[in-house]
């Protein structure tokens, strides 16, 4: 058993300490917005925030996440209001299949916290998620739109 704090709520998780956080979030906490893509921290589909930092949850264990604030895509909207990045995603019609977009949005929200007005070069450096549909053009436009929202 492990105690995890996800989206501000306490979860008693029946998983071994070496279980990847991704699977504890999906299977034990039942929050399926965080996606499995590769399991080796390459694609970024499983990106969540750990104490505010964008983190690939397939590469972190439950044991390592204990005591940290975990934020998933489900915890991004606050007080019934979408996060400005989510709103920019809707306004710019970003997702195609959408499977990578939870991770993409989590990576972008962390970027905007560090750099509220990112340049294209900042985006190139910080956003390394794979999108097989190829939504990059809309992702870039929506990041700039969110930054100026």
């Amino acid at each position: 058993m492990a105690s995890l704090t996800i989206n501000g709520k306490a979860f008693e998780i029946d998983a071994e300490a070496d279980t990847p956080l991704l699977w504890a979030i999906r299977e034990n906490a039942g929050l399926t917005g965080t996606k499995y893509g590769c399991g080796i921290a390459q694609c970024g589909a499983c990106t969540v925030h750990l104490d505010g930092a964008a983190t690939r949850s397939c590469g972190v264990t439950v044991g390592e996440a204990v005591g940290k604030q975990i934020t998933t895509i489900e915890g991004l909207a606050a007080g019934g209001m979408l996060h400005k990045v989510q709103q920019a995603w809707i306004d710019n019609d970003v997702p195609q299949c959408g499977y990578c977009q939870s991770g993409m949005i989590m990576a972008v929200t962390a970027l905007l916290r560090d750099k509220p007005k990112p340049s294209d070069a900042d985006i190139d450096e910080a956003i390394t998620n794979i999108c097989r549909c190829g939504t990059f053009q809309q992702v870039r436009e929506a990041i700039h739109a969110a930054a100026s929202a």
Binding site: T19, W23, E27, G37, T72, T128, R132, F136
Partner: protein, 726 residues
Amino acid sequence: MTHMPVLSRRSFVIGSAAVGSGLALGLDLPFGGPGVVRAADGSPEVNAWVVIRPDDTVVIRIARSEMGQGTLTGLAQLVAEELECDWSKVTTEYPTPGQSVARKRAWGDFSTGGSRGIRTSQDYVRKGGATARMMLVQAAANEWNVPVGECSAASSVITHKPSGRTTTYGKVVEAAAKLSPPADVKLKEPKDWRIVGKGVKRLDTADKTTGKMIYGVDVTLPGMLNAAIKDCPVFGGRLKSFDDSKVVAMKGVKKVVKVGDSAVAVVADTWWHAKVALDALPIVWDEGDNAKVSSASIAKWLEEGLDPAQPAFIGNQNGDAKAAVAGAARKVEAVYSYPYQNHATMEPMNATALYTADKCEVWTGTQNGEAAFAAVLEASGLPADKCDVHKLMLGGGFGRRGMTDYVRQAVTIARQMPGTPIKLIWSREEDMQHGRYHPITQCKLTGAFDADNNLTALQVRLSGQSILFSVRPDALVNGMDPAAFQGLAPQGEAAIGYSLPNLLVEHSMRNPHVPPGFWRGVNVNHNAIYLECFMDELALSAGQDPLDFRRKLMGKHPKHLAVLNAVAEKIGWTTPPPKGVFRGIAQHMGYGSYVAGATEISVTDGNKIKVHRIVAATDPGYAVNPAQIERQIAGSFVYGLSALFYGGLTVKDGRIEENNFDTYNSMRISEMPKVESIIMPSGGFWGGVGEPTICVAAPAVLNAYFAATGKRIRSVPLRNHDISFA
């Protein structure tokens, strides 16, 4: 080569069984009728395509699958256009294949591949919308006791012009649903469209930004267990034995089961527990003779097929190319090749199955609901009225999810645990190593010039794998795979855009044991590289500009030429590029659409490419949603250039070597420039959108790379040439 690869016959059985096991029924597209059919919430169907709720919400039924390509929204636009409904009140739902079969295939074909989602159903879905509108207007006229000709509909409101009375669809739908459908239905002229042709927002975006969208992998059912699977890594091999005593006591493990004759699965409380136990499970494979096959042995076998003495199918021929080449003043020859590629959808293959003695239901993302349904019937042994498939959003398809191997596996596992829902998820490694791969081919091209520097002949000799041979042998024509000539055909939806006095296009079919599948763009990917890079080689030999050289051969192909001219103009072909920047151009045709691409790149140290600009044009006949077409064009460049730079799978000991994104990489945002799209629908035909443009991505970059370096690259991927993104 000492060993001839052996083709697995299993895929044959799957393909033909799909037709035989309950779907070989007549097609009966209903446009309404006397008996009122009700949706699950009690709202009446006006016909199979349209349900209207009392609050005026319009539910449009969509048979094709949404996998990111926008078909769901595009088809809804087509129905809504004719229905004259309020677009802001439109929502969609999928009928199930089981419901469709029970209603004599009321929704027609569910297959979502070949860029057909819109173009092959636009006619009957528009008719569905128009019929429903006429019935709704008739119902209002009946209620008012006025001639129907005095009434009209707009934005879900029906107006009786002389009196100014109005009502809404939601108020008359009960009466409309009882009417007989009109016999004569006239569709609107494209010039009168007001929803079709507009880049309206997708209908499925909001839930994709909040984590609420449910993909197959997210399905949760009461009492559900999870399964992880390993199939024999050598295609065509078998499962010999496994020692489950080593894992049955591991945490969460419920059962270890054989799946067919080649796979084993661990079923556990969570998927993670299942995967950990599967990794610990001792398995012995009977790999069979295919274990002797390697990339080198396949390449050698394909190379032999380039020899004109070997038998080949002729896909396009005019004049006498062999004689013209023999008598040529000058000959140009080159050999190209294209490797295996994996679809690598972001969501690995998965399906959830619940089997009981008298029912089998499956929840999954599929590009072909009816094929998945047929697979459920066959794997469960139950009849059509006891089975169904519930389609979910696909985390990418690109052709992979038109196959049903993973559905069959899930049912086979669930059948061994009746009453318990089983969610089968493939690991990324399983997904990479059990794909239905882009086929492998080689191609020898020969061009002949006369003494006056005119191109007199072209020979294109393909050697390699046929997808249809493995997946749809019923579609072969006297053994020949017509699709192998995609983009090189004499006419039709994938016609070559050049006229030559002497032309010969042949295919020496050679089918290695690695299973092929339809991979976004399918055969145009390699055919466009072969033809369009070689066109540049011919232009160079002739001492002509690549664009001018092409244009001279395209006089009888005005639509091919129009898209080529459009990209040339936009990239500024006739004005010099910025210093250090070089251009490439390509055109092709596939899926009924005409496409062209032009790029500007720079090259550092001879091997580091930066793509500065991409211009792409398409003429798909009609553009239902230009905003989505733009996204499909840009996305297909990401997919195509990922394959060019990072892709390419190798075969060792009969299996695919690459097993995750660290060895089979994909482009990132930093590597991708903005794509400048030109959407130029010329009308009069319906072409596809999701796939056609991908094929010009690679040749437009390869031709620019030659312009920059003088080096002609004739094989994919670029990483094998030590070429990377800058």
